[in-house]
Subunit: 183 residues, 2 copies
């Protein structure tokens, strides 16, 4: 393994941490570099700039090995986010989407990668475009619940055990998957 790959990896790891915690604009390359123990200039050298680093980070964040393995994507996501022992690492991608989805500078990038790397493959395995509303509602429930519990910290969802939160989330997800549009 080349020396530069190690540096690249350190930067990528620090970038993942930062971009999952704060929005693109709120994260500075100098913070990332400091966290990685590396000089700022190397970001431009190895990733072509801030946007390139963000894009590289998206690539690993949306690369779900469980998906490539071929399981039911919804089951995978449910297992990821409703298990009582769901770690913060599991939550990080969700948080990253919440925090960066509306950013004008990288929003398009995020949407595009999310579509091609997660949404479209999921839809394929769920039986085609007919499942789109259910998948969308499923994601809405997951994102909304994460936002209420971890970001807004509202009573009834934030001051509750992981089991109870899992039950609430499952309830919403079941509703999302049970939805049938106007026929």
């Amino acid at each position: 393994m080349k020396k530069s790959d190690i540096t690249r990896e350190k930067l990528l790891s620090a970038a993942t941490n930062s971009f999952c915690a704060q929005s693109y604009s709120n994260v500075s390359l100098r913070m990332i570099a400091k966290q990685a123990g590396v000089d700022v200039a190397l970001v431009s050298r190895y990733f072509g700039g801030k946007r390139g680093l963000f894009e590289a980070m998206l690539e690993v964040a949306f690369d779900w090995p469980e998906m490539a393995a071929g399981g039911d994507p919804v089951a995978v996501a449910i297992a990821k986010y409703t298990k009582p022992d769901a770690t913060d690492a599991h939550m990080s991608v969700i948080r990253m989407i919440i925090v960066n989805g509306a950013d004008p500078e990288v929003g398009d990038l995020l949407r595009a990668r999310l579509r091609t790397m997660l949404i479209d493959p999921m839809l394929d395995r769920m039986g085609g475009p007919a499942a789109a509303p259910n998948l969308a509602m499923f994601i809405a429930a997951t994102l909304g619940a994460a936002m209420v519990r971890h970001t807004l910290r509202l009573p009834g969802m934030a001051d509750v055990s992981a089991e109870e939160y899992g039950a609430q989330l499952r309830h919403m997800i079941d509703a999302a998957l049970a939805y049938e549009g106007k026929q």
Copy 2:
């Protein structure tokens, strides 16, 4: 009406527009001032700085006259966000919460005002803390759906008529209100 109040109003209105569209860090006082047709320095004069302007904007954003009128808060919110003719103005508060909720500089402010001005009064009218999970899930559904439709623009929810979106949102809200915790 004093002249300065008009200026204050112009700044407040421009700030509302901006903070509903972009996050606190992504909005600059110079943009707001330009949109308001006013000098930048007046922000510091009349609101004490950027944070003061944001706080003043929160105060009007969370001041729902329908709530003060005494109606059922959930019914009010449902009417606001699931009617087919829900305008972007109705969506603006939702979008503002999504965009600014995770900001490290104003997140605490946002959470506090949201609690005292909307959540707590709503809970009171819903019969006390027992309704907290339902209210939290209701808000999760509303925020999540808005995020999926307007920010992430996922298929199945974004490429769909307002009526269909309203039906989907109603479905999720019904599930949220029907939830009963472990007894």
